[in-house]
């Protein structure tokens, strides 16, 4: 394994550097511009993201296909996998910034540092997507967490927001502390923080009897607490409904998509590199563990979503459930067949693409309705089909896509996942997943029902700007088309871990 030294690495590290630079620039600009023009700050942040995106593409092309570089003496790795996640996360941040510009609940005067924080959290997520060392993993996770806590509590005068931040940080701190303890155990077992080395050494020490399977199990479970908290898997999910409900809506959207995606990136890389040896997996039956966690996550997420009245909270539970679906793909990491492992990773990646569009789209509608109707409750959606037909139509598409109704992207996402899972012979898990998607119809349809089948007392039409519709289109069109085009399938198939 060849490592790039620090200075050599910097060139490949330019996207992250650009993010940091622009985060600083945003803070400086915020000092300069008047409050009324705070949108300028947001656009600067967007420019920063754009620059970073260009940098990602340049570094990626410098890398060449199917190549990877280990930067900073193996602290992080730049490969197709990381590039994909970086782009996805970057786009999610961009969307969040766009939402935030339109969101009326965020305090305009504080927006400068808000955008800086968003850039910072993106930076942390970039690290999460590419970290290959225990130290780096922990730093990345903490960077993301600390900034997220602040973002979740950003509405300083909202008790809900503060409460969300408080719960988030308490929960997050304990979870990451637990994870760190698990990481320390792993470190103690093999004596190195490098994931690849861990992957090679762990079976050796396990075979030699220096380490027992129970020890590995304890370590992994502790680590799972940290990663599971990030992707909100049962039983580490309980923070998410409260935080999602309390946080500003754009941040909720961001957490439910970007944070989750980053979590999965970390999860996949960690387990693939660190535990990608089937002996280790089998010694603790990791496959079954993950499968059960996956099944529980989607079931509990879906069931708890059923009685919700707050759309944000409902979507929070729904995103827990989707985390469960994604975990089904992760279960395949434990399959002995490399082809199936790659199918699992590909399925997760494809699903994340789909999820990105449909979930962000749904949250965008929630932002819009919260602006116009001033509520996040389902009642506020009554009669939306006549008050804002296009928005209602878009929301219906997002929701049905989340359900997995065919020809919408969500269906194809599930299709890819379930095909992979069944190919891994986990029929029961696929069945649980499918039953869950039936259950999920019920609560998604409740919103559709409110929009289309019920009428509002107030029948005044909402008016939205052209920009709003343009942004909505950006989410609707992919939700309609992704599944119908082969390009995304082949893309997700190409992205693999080594």
């Amino acid at each position: 394994m060849d490592y790039l030294e620090n200075i050599e690495s910097l060139a490949y590290f330019s996207p992250e550097i650009l993010l940091v630079v622009f985060a600083a620039a945003v803070i400086i600009l915020d000092l300069v511009v008047k409050n009324r023009e705070s949108e300028k700050v947001a656009y600067l942040a967007l420019v920063g993201l754009g620059c970073s995106l260009v940098a990602i593409i340049i570094t990626h092309s410098a890398l060449g296909t199917n190549e990877s570089k280990n930067l900073f003496w193996g602290m992080i790795r730049l490969d197709g996998f990381a590039v994909f996640f970086k782009i996805l996360l970057l786009l999610a941040t961009a969307a969040t910034i766009l939402f935030s510009i339109r969101s009326e609940e965020l305090d305009v005067r504080l927006k400068g540092e808000y955008y800086a924080l968003l850039l910072a959290v993106t930076f942390g997520m970039f690290l999460m997507a590419s970290a290959t060392n225990l130290l780096m993993i922990f730093i990345a996770l903490e960077t993301v967490s600390l900034t997220s806590y602040i973002l979740a509590g950003f509405l300083t005068h909202s008790p809900r927001s503060s409460e969300a931040a408080f719960k988030y940080i308490t929960y997050g701190a304990v979870a990451s502390g637990t994870m760190l303890f698990g990481l320390s155990l792993i470190f103690g077992m093999v004596g190195t923080g490098d994931l690849t080395t861990i992957g090679q050494q762990l079976p050796v020490v396990l075979a030699s009897g220096e380490v027992t399977a129970l020890g590995v199990l304890i370590a992994i479970t502790f680590i799972l607490a940290g990663i599971g908290y990030k992707i909100a898997s049962v039983p580490f999910h309980m923070w998410s409904p409260d935080v999602y409900e309390g946080a500003p809506i754009p941040i909720t959207a961001f957490l439910s998509v970007a944070s989750k995606a980053a979590g999965f990136a970390l999860f996949l890389r960690f387990f693939f590199s660190g535990f990608g040896n089937s002996e280790v997996m089998q010694s603790i039956d990791l496959g079954l563990l993950l499968a059960i966690v996956s099944a529980l996550t989607m079931t509990i997420g879906n069931l708890a979503a059923l009685p919700q009245q707050n759309v944000k909270r409902l979507l929070a539970y729904s995103s827990i459930a989707h985390g469960g679906y994604l975990l089904m793909g992760a279960v395949l990491l434990t399959n002995g067949d490399a082809a199936i492992v790659n199918k699992g990773i590909g399925a997760i990646i494809f699903y994340l693409i789909v999820y990105f569009f449909m979930n962000l789209g749904a949250f965008y509608v929630v932002v819009l309705i919260a602006n116009e109707a001033g509520t996040e409750m389902i009642e506020g959606y009554r009669g939306l089909s006549s008050r804002a037909p296009l928005v209602a139509g878009a929301m219906a598409i997002f929701l049905f896509s989340l359900t997995g109704i065919p020809f919408l992207a969500g269906f194809f996402g599930k299709w890819v996942l379930f095909t992979a899972v069944i190919e891994g012979n986990l029929y029961w898990l696929a069945f649980v997943g499918l039953l869950n998607s039936v259950v999920s119809l019920y609560y998604y349809a409740r919103i559709v029902k409110a929009m289309y089948l019920e009428s509002a007392e107030d029948t005044e039409s909402f008016s939205f700007s052209k920009g709003t519709f343009a942004l909505l289109t950006v989410f609707v069109v992919p939700t309609l088309l992704i599944g119908l085009l082969n390009i995304f399938y082949s893309l997700s198939e190409k992205i693999t871990l080594q």
Binding site: V174, L217, P235, F236, M238, L288, I300
Partner: protein, 736 residues
């Protein structure tokens, strides 16, 4: 020539109906639908007569492929033998006369054109049934005539009684039809065809001969009986006879055409057609059903006062005779009686129609009353039929009397028919055909030494006597004596010529001499019988000979010499024995039948003309018997009772069901007031099937609520779950 002629016969009436229907869609109507329909029928009549010459001894069906899938071919086609032609003539003739009669009878009805359109449709269906060469075609015609019967019985559908009657008729016959369909399924499963005759492929009759063995073949017996079920329904045999008297709610020409002459006789025709597949057992069942029907219906008829119902029960009874004949192997006698009965019974109905028409003003008046009265009960419809409705005054014989002078033509023609049905010897066709049946049954009994057939003969004989009794009762009450209802009597008048002429024609047709076809014994021959047939027959030698013997004896008095000559010329000794036995039987039967008929007429004369005995006192003296007759053997009550009992059972069932499953939610019971199974199943649907689904949904929902409760909002609970989760995972997976 056969195909064009048959096509004309079928298409003419059909066209008359189609024109009506198409114009109806365009909200118009043909100005003279009556003439159109009548003309169409007359054309068919002419063609039917022309077909007489086309009959060949061993006809082939004219078929086309109707449906062909792979190896299977269903063909549709015509089969024309002497029986077909005779049926065609009977149907077209009676139908034409009824058409003409209706021009007068239905005059002024608001739905006058529609009536003729329906008649045309009926005629088409009936003719289609008659000419079909296969069971499927027969079944199609069979159901279509049922439909027309439904439409025509319910022609005055504003009357609830009519509405009920038509539904009852259709449903009751459908029960029989299902039996017939099952029989068809059995035959089809065995023979892979429903064609009866040999066309491109062998038909059922040929195939059935291939079945080995001389005794009964159980499944074939069952199939035969099942097919006969169709006839039980259509020909109103016990126990499915109850619809026919109710069907008198229809206009009287309809009763004459459909419920006396043609459609109800279709059952007999079908049974006769299926003769070659009837085994001993099925024959016996048919004979018994026929015999019982003949007797039961006759006894009920004694005590009716509604002129049409008397005739209706009389029809049921006579149809029973025909069935008995076929069951006893007297194929030709059965068909013969069918023909003669068609004419004289149509005549009787038309005559009664003429009488009713005489009270036409009253009729209209009554209708209005009726309408008003029924409006209140309107919501009260149920599947349980209302029956035994009041007798309309213009049909009540107790309002009649002495009409003989007022309506001489009607009286005269009806008397001819009455003499005919009563079996008054020699001059009247009914005597010959009935005697043929009696003789056939007795002969069969004597040949086969079967006690069953002796019993049946006894029943038939008693029924013959009763028939003479109640028919003369009808004549005496209607036409003789003093008018009982002077007001109505004054209004009565002879019918116009369009109604009288058909009566006259039919009266002429009730004289045997105009039925010459039947006296040429070569013209109608029973179909060749196969090995499956009665051992009794088999002992007699070559089967075909027995058949000949039967047909020859059926017309003993006319064709004896001829028959004897032929039989004697070529038959074996055994056949000669059978021949002699049958000859003897016919002689005995004839004597006996003349005696019972005479007795019946005499008693009737004493009771109702001379009033030597009081019918009322006899009725009180034998009140149990009288009640039995009066209440029509409680058949309707039985059917209703079964339904009611089931309803009770249903409520009880629900009560338990409710207690057990829906713990005490009794509100279901209140809503469940519908019919037995239907309601039960509807209930099942809502409570169990939906219930399970809803329960699953509830459980799911409740689980959601449960999970919500864990989400307490207190952060330390969440952390506890985290730690608990970690510990649990480690504990569980440690062992693995």
């Amino acid at each position: 020539m056969v195909i064009p002629l048959i096509s004309i016969i079928l298409l003419c009436p059909l066209a008359a109906f189609v024109i009506f229907a198409l114009l109806g869609l365009a909200k118009r109507s043909f100005p003279r639908q009556d003439l159109l329909s009548t003309a169409a029928m007359l054309a068919a009549l002419v063609c039917s007569f022309l077909l007489l010459r086309e009959v060949v001894p061993d006809p082939k069906p004219h078929t086309v492929n109707w449906i062909s899938v792979g190896d299977f071919t269903f063909s549709m086609g015509f089969y024309l033998d002497s029986v077909t032609v005779i049926m065609l003539i009977v149907v077209t003739l009676v139908s034409s006369l009824v058409h003409i009669f209706s021009i007068g009878y239905m005059h002024g009805d608001p739905r006058y054109p529609r009536f003729f359109a329906y008649l045309s449709l009926f005629s088409f269906s009936m003719l289609f049934l008659v000419v079909s060469d296969n069971l499927l075609g027969i079944y199609i015609g069979w159901e279509l005539v049922g439909l027309c019967s439904y439409l025509l019985i319910g022609f005055w559908f504003e009357k609830d009684s009519a509405a009920n009657a038509c539904k009852k008729a259709f449903l009751t016959t459908r029960v029989g039809d299902v039996g017939m369909f099952i029989g068809m399924m059995m035959l089809f499963a065995k023979f892979k065809t429903l064609s009866l005759y040999d066309g491109t492929e062998n038909g059922i009759f040929t195939l059935v001969e291939g079945l080995s063995g001389t005794g009964d073949i159980i499944w074939l017996s069952i199939a035969g009986i099942l097919i006969f079920c169709g006839a039980i329904g259509k020909s109103a045999q016990v126990p499915l006879h109850t619809w026919l008297p109710d069907a008198m709610e229809g206009p009287t020409p309809v009763s004459a055409l459909i419920h006396a002459a043609t459609m109800v006789a279709a059952g007999v025709y079908l049974t006769a057609r299926m003769f070659p597949i009837l085994t001993d057992t099925s024959s016996l069942v048919i004979a018994y059903i026929g015999g019982i029907t003949a007797l039961v219906a006759a006894t009920i008829a004694i005590v009716r006062f509604d002129i049409k119902r008397v005739l209706a029960y009389s029809t049921v009874s006579q149809l029973g005779y025909m069935m008995l004949a076929i069951g006893a192997g007297s194929y030709v006698a059965g068909l013969f009686h069918l023909t003669t009965h068609a004419f004289f019974k149509a005549l009787l109905f038309l005559g009664s129609g003429s009488v009713i028409h005489a009270f036409h003003a009253m009729h209209a008046h009554h209708d209005e009353d009726h309408t008003d009265g029924e409006a209140h009960e309107h919501d009260d419809h149920s599947l349980v039929h209302e029956h035994g409705s009041e007798i309309p005054p213009d049909q009540d014989m107790r309002n009649m009397g002495g009409l003989r002078r007022k309506m001489p033509w009607t009286f005269g023609t009806m008397l001819v028919a009455t003499l005919s049905i009563s079996g008054v010897p020699f001059l009247f066709s009914g005597f010959w055909s009935k005697d043929a049946i009696l003789g056939g049954v007795l002969g069969h009994a004597m040949v086969s030494h079967s006690p069953h057939y002796y019993i049946l003969f006894g029943m038939a004989l008693i029924a013959a006597g009763i028939t003479a009794f109640y028919m003369f009762r009808l004549i005496f009450m209607t036409f003789f004596g003093e008018p009982r209802n002077q007001e109505m009597h004054d209004m009565a008048h002879e019918s116009p010529w369009v109604m009288v002429v058909p009566l006259l024609v039919l009266a002429v047709l009730s004289i045997p001499i105009v039925n010459p076809i039947w006296f040429n014994k070569d013209y109608v021959k029973p179909p060749p019988q196969s090995h499956i047939h009665a051992p009794a027959h088999a002992q007699l030698g070559p089967d075909t000979k027995t058949g000949d013997a039967n047909s020859g004896f059926a017309f003993f008095w006319i064709s004896e010499a001829q028959a004897a000559e032929e039989e004697g010329g070529k038959n074996t000794e055994k056949a000669d024995d059978a021949y002699r036995i049958h000859k003897l039987a016919h002689n005995i039967a004839m004597v006996l039948s003349i005696c019972v008929a005479g007795l019946g007429i005499l008693l009737s004369w004493l009771f109702y003309h001379r009033r030597r005995f009081s019918a009322e006192s006899v009725a009180t003296k034998f009140s149990p018997v009288y009640n039995l007759f009066w209440n029509k053997y409680y058949f309707d009550e039985f059917y209703d009772g079964v339904l009611v009992a089931l309803t009770v059972w249903k409520s009880r069932l629900f009560a338990q069901f409710d207690g057990a499953i829906v713990d005490g939610t009794v509100n279901g019971v209140g809503t469940v007031t519908r019919q037995i199974f239907a309601a039960f199943i509807g209930f099942f649907d809502n409570r169990v099937v939906d219930g399970i689904v809803n329960r699953v949904a509830e459980v799911t929902w409740a689980a959601g609520g449960r999970i919500r409760r864990i989400q307490t909002g207190a952060i330390q609970t969440y952390l506890f779950v985290v730690l608990g989760g970690i510990v649990l995972i480690i504990l569980i997976f440690r062992a693995l």
